[in-house]
Symmetry: C2
């Protein structure tokens, strides 16, 4: 974060909705106040603006559809949608209808894609809130045809093509063609685009090139069926960095890249990809507090199970976050930053606490802030490295974190 | 769940707070409706009432303090507090001041213990909401002395003793005595109780017996300092099952046991402990929907990374929940139940989806409900077994689950 940051107020998920309810909003602001001194996920909005600019350059010519599923991977979909609509983002994507309604509830009017479409019972709600489904199969197609019938106008939908993800959509081109023909017959629907998911965009090149080629065949078939105006989308965060210019599509779908994070497998990175991701700015910082300092004069077991034993002279600091807030459960390789030092975790992560070995940090004090993700002095812990050390992925790590959020904005103008 | 259940409405965290805000409450009820058809955590309130009855019998004579930290391990602290206050529970325990205010906001007036006390900045808020801190060190003691000064009356506090947990509190009895003397000098505080945490109550007997003995020495010292009226508490879920009758204390602190779950290490269970936990009724069911069915005529890679390859003739079902809702990330040993069959997961768990091998379930249909925790026909998946298979703990599993909740109440009268 920048030294010139101006802090905005922390937001709970529905805090804005509570403005009309003074009694509850007082409780809520006190709850947020009490949470914010224990652990804080800080989101740097100016870094996100900067990253949007980088993404725009990487995917020159394509429109940006920001993926805000799972509450924007835990960063707060409502706040981010408002930020992103002000800087070149023309549409949003969510996982399901509930997430789409949540964006509509906060006043977002841009197109919202419901990735792979949700359950058919939710089609009427989706139509009522003008959410655009990605349709993977005929059952859902017909559910939207029925739901759209009530509103009269041609309702916009996207079609899912399966080029190897194999979790949704028809893989066989003839089966897809049959499905697309059914879509074309739907009187109340208008197919606006075809899209697919790459499976190895953060790694193996050959698999991706084959899938890109397969998608080109799907697009060719779709243009034959729906006309050349039909739009296309294939690349999410990792794909757009590598191929958005080489294989132009109408929409790119950045997600984790917006936050300056990625899940590239480092050993498979071409030089230009490495350079591109180095232009991104990390937008996240996760910090917590020291709530207890314990000195051990001799060896003692620590925590539940007593599996970890101190050495004489050791000093442990207990901090006020744990797996119940989404901090990783697997702690043997993890570190944190305190007073410009990198210190190892000691023992297991508990639901609301874990411990650090701070023996070598002489000036440590009760209630010191500890950095779990982010920079402290010359030290840095990235989402990528913490996830790797915790034997998980940046996606699991980010989407699991549930703690008080604070949005900061340095006001920087990107270059 | 029982066949005679009557469904209550699903609740989001603050949905009741929004009753005064019609525009937002409409959005919220639609959001809940859209979520509820994708994945549902069902909480059986009558099972919890039954479990309170079992716990009362196991800890005859002790008062019940229900541990509702981390939103009652994901089950909804507000709803459970209301249920529990109607059936023998005389106090609640939470992890921090924010959680305590949340219970006060929902109208809970019983004593609320803030386990191990939170950050000193939160002491004024705690006092304002009549939350009772468990105080582990002198810094926090003095913060409460200052906060209590403003309200005049003697403010009730508990003191933390450390009998081997070693995450908080003073271990050495003389150091504890010094601390207790400081507490006794505080003009605006009244020490109501001493308590501690056992570390191996779900396992090794000898460690626990030594800690129980150490606690008895602490209690003896506390009675000498504060008089025989000072209260005591040592046993949480596992400890109360094994020792509440043998070593009487004033308060027991059941948590996970309320939900019919436990983390006993099976190989260390005495017969009477096994029998006791068999009287508990599981209160949870987690279910999700099939959103895609895919048939594979030949071998194909599946999902991100393409690490998992289908066999010809295989049929996979994609379901609408993933690690973003707290379903376990580690899937190699996991199963789910569908149409009275146990089926294995196939491939990795994604943020909002994963896949099941349903090749051998001939009558399977799109949108079928799938049981991830609970009973289907003769098959059952417990929190305990799912956590074990996922290489995690019941606590991490439960507290990580974030999806739509539904409360059911069969109205059963317990025996």
């Amino acid at each position: 974060m920048n030294s010139t940051t101006s802090e905005l107020h922390p937001l709970t998920r529905f805090i804005e909705a509570l403005k009309d309810s003074p009694r509850e909003s007082k409780f809520l602001s006190e709850i947020e106040q009490a949470r914010a001194v224990r652990a804080l996920l800080e989101v740097d909005l100016s870094a996100i603006r900067h990253n949007v600019h980088v993404i725009s350059q990487l995917s020159e010519g394509a429109k940006l559809m920001a993926v805000l599923k799972r509450d924007a991977y835990g960063l707060g979909a409502r706040v981010l949608a408002r930020l992103l609509q002000s800087c070149r983002v023309q549409a949003f994507a969510v996982d399901n209808v509930a997430e789409g309604i949540e964006l509509r509830a906060s006043g977002i009017t841009e197109p919202i894609l419901v990735i792979d479409g949700d359950i058919s019972e939710n089609a009427p709600l989706a139509v009522a809130h003008n959410l655009m489904p990605g349709i993977p199969h005929e059952n859902l197609l017909l559910a939207y045809e029925r739901a759209a019938e009530r509103i009269g106008d041609k309702y916009p939908v996207w079609l899912v093509a399966n080029v190897g993800f194999n979790r949704s959509g028809y893989r066989d081109i003839e089966r897809f063609t049959h499905f697309a023909l059914r879509a074309r017959e739907c009187q109340h629907l208008e197919v606006k685009a075809v899209y697919a998911h790459l499976t190895n965009s953060n790694g193996d090149l050959q698999i991706s090139l084959a899938q890109i080629e397969e998608f080109r065949q799907v697009v060719s078939r779709a243009k034959a069926l729906f006309g050349s105006g039909i739009e296309t989308s294939l690349f999410a965060s990792h794909g757009l960095v590598r191929w958005a210019k080489m294989f132009p599509t109408d929409w790119v779908r950045p997600g984790i890249l917006l936050y300056g994070e990625h899940a590239f497998l480092q050993d498979s990175l071409a030089l230009e990809t490495s350079e591109a991701i180095q232009k991104l700015r990390p937008a996240l910082r996760l910090r917590t507090r020291i709530t207890h300092l314990l000195d051990f004069t001799h060896s003692e077991g620590v925590g539940y199970g007593q599996q970890h034993v101190t050495r004489p002279g050791q000093r442990l600091a207990t901090v006020s976050i744990g797996f119940g807030s989404g901090y990783p459960f697997r702690s043997t390789k993890l570190h944190a930053l305190v007073r410009n030092h990198r210190v190892p975790l000691f023992g297991d992560v508990g639901m609301d606490a874990f411990q650090l070995d701070v023996t070598d940090i002489p000036d440590i004090e009760l209630y010191d802030w500890v950095t779990l993700i982010g920079t402290d002095g010359d030290e840095h812990i990235s989402v990528h490295s913490l996830a790797f050390d915790a034997e998980t992925t940046p996606y699991q790590l980010l989407s699991g974190i549930h703690c008080c959020r604070s949005y900061v904005d340095s006001g920087d103008i990107f270059l």
